[in-house]
């Protein structure tokens, strides 16, 4: 088997510089937004006492899920011993780290007291799945760094397989933990389900792979060189189809179980059939644009350039992922708590009312800056260190 050589990202055609500057501007704007919210309080955002987690959290959760999924390519090469994926393992690890960094940055910066991050990292209530998640995220970063070291250091390659196993297991536990943040909440009928964790795991496969494909396309564009051989494109296509079907299957299970459970018909009607913004985002954003369209593009053979066949479906899947989380997170909070089933309740604290959420500019900037942080880290590290495979491996 030919030896794989790696290279750094060589700057050609200025496209890379442009991307870096673009991302820097967005990150700067995001940090400005953070200062603004910190100074004036969360009153300047659209979040309130009813919708407590908004657009920043949509992006944060999206990036964190994508991060655990981005490690997939590396895992397939190490854990499932598929050598075709090996050249991309380093990049996959780097993407996992940078996406997680971006997601965590957004999450932490939206805290009411982000200056207390040290307290969050040293004081724990281990009954809280959120506390466990802090360890899972930081542990994931440490493990992936060691995994990358095992892959990159010349004489450490024999450790890459065990590290790959550890990383794979850890990332499954991490995504289970992230899904359980919602699944364990008994008070919110839209969240409370055992299917949350597997749903998040399946979603992570989709977002992570979609991100990897988008980055590979960007990098290939920057290098203007053929980076993805046909056989890999075929494999990625198959994986995307499989994972997307898994996500839609678990989503169907989630909603059907809720519909059968007595007392949950109201929340299901609210989320799916009421015609409100959340049901629109679900049907149009997640299902139509985010699932059916990319599936059609992936399954139906097309005459386009082989390299590009995955880019559009991946972008659509990523959009669908954002829509999925938006509908779930915001919709689940907007639905009023049912203190007295069968009764109509009202109060001066918006009891019984569907809460409305209108994101403001600071939130939007903060959310988007998460993606930019991830892209910045990936781009700069790729420029400095050999993460990209050189040409074809065969």
């Amino acid at each position: 088997m030919a030896r794989i050589t790696y290279t750094t990202l060589k700057n050609r055609a200025g496209f890379f510089d442009l991307m870096i500057i673009f991302n820097l501007v967005i990150v700067a704007a995001g940090m400005g937004a953070v200062w603004y919210v910190e100074h004036y309080g969360h009153i300047v955002t659209g979040m309130g006492n009813k919708i407590v987690w908004g657009l920043p959290h949509v992006f944060a959760i999206f990036l964190i899920i994508a991060a655990s999924g981005a490690l997939n390519v590396a895992s397939i090469s190490s854990v499932f011993s598929k050598p075709e994926y090996k050249p991309y393992a380093r990049l996959s690890g780097l993407l996992a780290l940078s996406l997680l960094a971006g997601g965590l940055a957004v999450l932490v910066l939206d805290l009411g007291r982000p200056d207390r991050l040290l307290i969050a990292m040293t004081t724990y209530n281990f009954k809280s799945i959120f506390a466990w998640n802090i360890y899972l995220y930081t542990g994931f970063m440490a493990i992936v760094i060691v995994y990358l070291w095992a892959m990159m250091a010349r004489n450490m390659d024999k450790y890459s397989k065990p590290m790959g196993f550890i990383a794979f297991a850890w990332r499954l536990i991490l995504t289970t933990g992230t899904g359980s943040i919602f699944g364990f909440i008994v008070a919110r009928e839209a969240f409370n389900s055992a299917v949350m964790a597997p749903l998040f795991i399946a979603s992570s496969f989709v977002y992570g792979l979609a991100f990897t494909i988008v980055v590979l396309n960007l990098v290939a564009r920057a290098r203007q060189r053929e980076l993805m051989p046909d056989i890999l494109i075929e494999k990625f296509r198959g994986l995307l189809i499989t994972f997307t079907v898994a996500v839609i299957f678990l989503t169907i299970i989630l909603h059907i179980t809720n519909l059968y459970a007595s007392g949950r018909q109201d929340v299901e009607w609210f989320m799916l059939a009421s015609g409100n913004i959340y049901s629109q985002v679900f049907w149009i954003g997640q299902i139509a644009i985010g699932t059916l369209a990319p599936l059609a593009l992936l399954i139906i053979p097309r005459k386009t350039d082989k390299r590009r066949t995955l880019l559009l479906p991946s972008l659509l899947l990523l959009f669908g992922g954002l829509a999925q989380i938006y509908a779930l997170l915001i919709g689940g909070q907007a639905y009023p708590l049912d203190l007295f089933p069968g009764m109509e309740i009202s109060s001066s604290f918006q009891d019984g009312e569907v809460a409305s959420y209108i994101p403001t500019l600071p939130e939007i900037l903060l959310g988007i800056s998460g993606i930019s942080i991830a892209m910045l880290i990936s781009g700069i590290v790729m420029r400095l260190m050999p993460f990209l495979p050189k040409g074809e491996s065969a």
Partner: protein, 254 residues
Amino acid sequence: MTCTSGSKEFIDKSRRDFLKKAGAGVTTFTLASGVTLMAYPQAQKRPLDEPVSAKNRWGLLIDVNKCTPECDACVTACASENGWKQGGDPRVDAQWIRKLTVKNPKSGYESSFPVMCQHCENPPCVDVCPTGASFKRLDGIVLVDKHTCIGCRYCMIACPYNARSFIHEPLTDQRPWAPRGKGTVESCTLCVHRVDRGDEPACVEKCATDGNGALMFGDLNDPDSEISIRVATYATKQIRADLGLNPGVRYENL
């Protein structure tokens, strides 16, 4: 029943019941203890240099029949005692206690009563707090330790009663016994600063003086306290009892 001093009414009823059961010899004793209970809701004030213990479990009993929709004495009392402003933007303003109006759409029957932090025995907000800032004191009062709160708002998602508020802007002019600040979460403290010195919460006191005497405060662990006797004698309910949280706030005639 028009506005009378609430405690006295409770005492009358329980005194009557007690007499029926115990006989004449108990009358003097009951009279004396009734007067005492009215002035000092706690049988024995805990010395302030002693830590709290699980000996007490503080609770509220709210008689829904006595509550009228126009009266919000409890809400006003809480707001002035603890320093939050009423009547602002419900989206972002704190509300530690609110009057909930419940209407049965089929029968048309409507009732109104206050809802605040239910001070559960198994509080979901305590379970989910990543730093342990949301905690339950040994005597059952659920509080937010704002020194440790990072403002993640996860407890607000977890609370089945929507009892918690987040402070969305910088604050000044706080009451000295109720520190509140931007970026942390807060909720009804059961007037812990008053409970610790032997008083009852502000809402209970105001309801007795200015309202309809619908609120009662006491020690649910003390079998001789008014609230325990009443809870044992009359049917009371907890909101969302199906969740198994065992709140310390109970409602009569719900």
